[in-house]
């Protein structure tokens, strides 16, 4: 049997998710196919979570054009979708005369990109805003409109809302074949399931070039750029209120200090071009670089306060012929050597294959631009002939199923805790003791379909604290087993092959 859809979106990162939600406004049958066991397990799980102010990218690029309009959408999105978001602003700080002229350059660029309330502020005001900064700072470019979000919760919210409005989201479904036959796209997946669609949206992140290649589009290649980030212990506190950038150099955008929306401070990312799309390894050099740079901005930061690290791979697109030919050497009919796209820019919209729409090469500021990219994609679909008829039943509201105990405790709102416990007893059973996550939150996440340790971690923060799941692993294994019936030895960290325990030694517990 073949499942037929109007549109199939390949990839359930923030881009695929934002597109899915956007398309759910219309009378369409839409499916999202995601190769991983859960959504947001690609680039979208490992990034800085910044809704950028918008002064970094050049105005003549899509990145520069879409970042501010994307940023503007977040107040409303946050209201509708109930994910953590805070407009705390970003600062690019300068330490020398040279750097001050760099600030001026980015100020001008920001103005061209329409960044609101952008200003350059002097030392005194800067240190008043951020007293923990290195006192040697001279001045800073200040974009108060920037903010921070929890990227996976944003992605989960988009997906949940899309599902509410009729989109079919299928995880663990890797597209391995895509053909266009008599005007219809046919898909085969690794599990040998077949799907067909009139339109395809390619939102496959790091693998978007490989999807495009399946329909003969070979004019771009995704080159992963590795970024290592380090998360500090919550105990360190909010060292900074705003996101802190150094002045970029020719080589790098520099290491940032990010007060995450969940509380702990994060530092990073590094930037290194690599070839392997599944190289998620941190390095000793990365660690040193990150902390050396971070300490220059905020001297009290210590690498011994790191509780965990991760790697994100930026899906940077290039249409440079020499790079492409290195990878796609077997392709004979490569036309011309002039790059079709600006190196490193987003590749969004219609292609030479009618009905095949790209949302590729979405590196930073992809998170920020995601809502506006989604609108551009629905426009492209319209231009390629898809009828977009508003669905009057579309409900833009998604509410988080359960509240996070931690945020209530942070505010010391104990009467609220009492109320929650009264309504749902599972709130008084603490499962993750570092981040104060309760059984109520874990069970809700499992019920939403997050059945891996990583999925539950992203949905609830359980296991992200200082003990790094030493305490809660066994408890979460129990809860997943209880709620889903999956045998404990089949429960994974992040999908098949990453089981937590291999063999039961004996039946039941023996204390």
């Amino acid at each position: 049997m073949i499942d037929k859809y109007d549109v199939i979106i390949i990839g359930a990162g923030v881009i695929g998710a934002a597109i899915a939600r956007e398309l759910s406004r219309y009378h369409l049958s839409v499916a999202v196919l995601e190769k991983e066991i859960d959504v947001s397990f690609g680039v979208s799980k490992a990034n800085s979570g910044i809704i950028h102010g918008g002064f970094h990218a050049p105005p003549d690029t899509l990145k520069g054009k879409l970042v501010v309009p994307g940023n503007r959408k977040f107040d409303r999105l946050c209201e509708e979708l109930d994910f953590p978001f805070e407009r705390n602003g970003e600062l690019m700080v300068a330490f020398s005369e040279d750097e001050i002229s760099t600030l001026q350059f980015y100020y001008d660029r920001g103005k061209k990109n329409n960044v609101p309330y952008l200003e350059i502020i002097g030392k005194e005001r800067l240190l008043e805003l951020e007293p923990n900064l290195n006192p040697d700072v001279e001045c800073a470019l200040y974009a108060p409109s920037a903010g921070v979000i929890c990227p996976y919760e944003y992605c989960f919210a988009l997906i949940e809302n899309a599902k509410q409005n009729g989109v079919n989201v299928i995880t663990g479904e890797k597209v391995i074949e895509l053909k266009k036959n008599a005007g219809i796209f046919e898909i085969k997946t690794e599990k040998n399931n077949k799907y067909s669609a009139l339109y395809i949206v390619n939102a496959a992140g790091l693998f978007a070039d490989e999807i495009a290649r399946m329909v003969g589009i070979t004019n771009f290649k995704i080159v992963p750029r590795k970024g290592e980030e380090y998360l500090l212990d919550r105990r360190v506190g909010k060292l900074v209120k705003r996101v802190i950038f150094p002045c970029p150099t020719k080589k790098s955008k520099g290491m940032l200090i990010i007060p995450t929306v969940d509380g702990p401070v994060m530092v990073g990312p590094t930037a290194l071009d690599i070839e392997d799309k599944v190289d998620f390894s941190t390095t000793r050099d990365g660690l040193k670089t990150v902390f050396n740079h971070a300490q220059k901005l905020v001297p009290s930061i210590r690498s011994t306060d790191a509780i965990t690290s991760f790697v994100g791979l930026r899906p940077a697109a290039t249409s440079n012929y020499s790079i492409i030919s290195k990878f796609f050497s077997i392709i004979k009919s490569f036309t011309g050597t002039k790059p079709e796209y600006i190196d490193g820019d987003f590749i969004i919209g219609r292609t030479t294959v009618s009905g095949f729409i790209n949302a590729a090469g979405i590196q930073s500021p992809g998170l920020t631009a995601s809502p506006i990219i989604a609108e551009h994609i629905s426009d492209a679909l319209l231009k390629d002939g898809l009828k977009l008829e508003k669905n009057p039943a579309f409900n833009p509201i998604r509410k988080r199923k359960v509240k996070h105990l931690r945020s209530i405790l942070d505010e010391k709102n104990f009467s609220e805790v009492e109320k929650l416990v009264k309504e749902n007893k599972k709130y008084s059973n603490l499962v993750c003791r570092c981040e104060n996550v309760t059984e109520a939150e874990i069970v809700a996440a499992i019920k939403m379909g997050h059945t891996t340790l990583d999925g539950i971690k992203f949905a609830t923060r359980a296991g992200t604290g200082r003990c790094q799941a030493g305490f809660c692993t066994t408890r979460i294994l129990d809860l997943i087993h209880q709620e889903t019936g999956i045998p404990v030895e089949q429960i994974t960290k992040k999908g098949p092959g990453s089981e937590i325990v291999l063999t039961p030694l004996r039946k039941g517990r023996d204390g």
């Binding site: 998360l231 011994t304 104990f414 603490l430 404990v488 325990v501 291999l502 063999t503």
Partner: protein
């Protein structure tokens, strides 16, 4: 729910239980013992090997057996014990009492007003993030303690081809335990030039099973995407940098980390308790009171103990001091600093009292042979002297020193080569 007591004891491990029993023995009845686990006993419940209680009960018990002895006393004394109950906050009140906030599975949220608090929260294990091992982040990497819990309490084997980083006691014990359960333990890798755990564990857990121990080595990379597949092991130079040219790889499906314990002092910091950067436990006086009046600390949250017997002993002293505090009988006499010198990694307490003898716990910086430990006053009055054939950081020394004479300004403790 609101409740008023004389003392709240946080943590019902061996330390908390012994402190509670001691409080009872000293006539304090209105006390509350809380633990976030479903059973009392703390870390002992997962240590099903022998070797507990040799000093205290004069017989070799398993961890759960040792715990059982104290649980019996808790029951006999009808001490109020709340399980599945986690302390999430402590606050100081104007009248010097404290409010302890407990989230309890059975009882919901509770505010306990108390005169005194005993911190007995034990330790957590250092994990990968704390030591920043480079490489990928697959499944199959966990602390030795988590593996111990999975095997001994849950009955699951985490993997079959095992490498262990760190030669702390938990790691050594897990090397043997995993071997018994049919796993192949390929190596134990230790950063230092000497083992972290007790010698008896090296012999009984590694040598008896021909498990190689690589001293002065570390894991310099981890690979594998879904599950760990291989670790890169490198020898270290004198600056503890990996010598990559001499590294070799070990295939494995599991990596256990036994790289140290960190006292669980986040609650303590919240209420203003000051920590010793070396032990990461609280600074305490000889009554085991922290710098916050009414807040006491004992067991692994104060200093990492290798023997539970000493935990019980320390907690007993702590309970007695808390009882005095509650009865306003804790005399505050003149205290002078105890200064550590040559080779003494830490000594506890950090102060001694004029006119009184004292019980000190200490550890050396590194192993050494034929050392003399002396404790002297600033005017060279000898309070303690003993020769040791061997000293190890893995073995805590507990010593009794003589009465500190009047007019002493400070006391010095040091090791010296004979």
């Amino acid at each position: 729910m609101k409740k008023k007591v004389d003392a709240v004891i946080i943590g019902a491990g061996p330390a908390g239980m012994a402190a509670a029993v001691s409080l009872r023995e000293n006539g304090i009845k209105n006390i509350l013992l809380v633990d976030r686990e479903p059973v009392a006993g703390g870390i002992l419940q997962q240590c099903i090997h022998n070797g507990f209680g040799v000093h205290h009960f004069k017989e070799e018990l398993t961890g759960p057996e040792y715990a059982e002895r104290y649980i019996d006393q808790i029951n006999k004394n009808k001490i109020d014990l709340w399980l599945d109950s986690c302390v999430i906050d402590i606050e100081k009140n104007q009248d010097d009492t404290k409010t302890v906030v407990v989230l309890s599975k059975e009882r919901g949220i509770n505010y306990i007003n108390t005169k005194a608090v005993v911190l007995a929260m034990g330790c957590r294990e250092r994990n990968r993030g704390n030591i920043n091992i480079p490489g990928s982040r697959p499944a199959g990497i966990m602390t030795a303690g988590t593996a111990q819990k999975l095997v001994n309490i849950y009955g699951y084997l985490p993997g079959k081809e095992v490498v262990i980083l760190g030669s702390g006691d938990i790691g050594l014990i897990m090397a043997r335990r995993m071997t018994w359960e049919g796993a192949n333990v390929k190596a134990v890798i230790e950063l230092q030039s000497y083992p972290g755990g007790l010698n008896r564990n090296i012999v009984q857990c590694l040598n008896d099973f021909d498990i190689p121990l690589y001293l002065s080595h570390t894991i310099s990379n981890i690979s594998g995407n879904d599950r760990i597949e291989e670790v890169e092991v490198s020898p270290l130079d004198e600056n503890f940098e990996a010598i990559k040219s001499k590294s070799f790889n070990l295939k494995c499906d599991t990596l256990l980390l036994s790289v140290g314990l960190i006292p669980e002092n986040e609650l303590s910091i919240k209420i203003g308790v000051k920590l010793d950067p070396v032990t990461r436990g609280a600074y305490v006086d000889k009554n085991l009171m922290t710098i916050v009046p009414g807040i006491f600390s004992c067991g692994n949250v104060l200093q990492v103990h290798d023997l539970v017997d000493f935990v019980s002993e320390e907690a007993k002293i702590c309970g007695a001091s808390v009882a005095k505090y509650i009865n306003n009988k804790l005399e505050k006499s003149k205290e002078i600093p105890l200064q550590k010198r040559n080779l003494v990694r830490y000594v506890l307490p950090s102060k001694v009292e004029i006119g009184k003898p004292a019980l000190l716990s200490l550890r050396p910086m590194h192993p050494a042979k034929n050392m003399t430990l002396t404790v002297k006053t600033n005017s060279s009055v000898e309070l303690f002297k003993r020769k040791y054939k061997n000293i190890f950081p893995s073995i805590m020394l507990r010593i009794n020193i003589d009465v500190v004479p009047e007019d002493t300004e400070f006391v010095e403790i040091k090791f010296e080569k004979e």
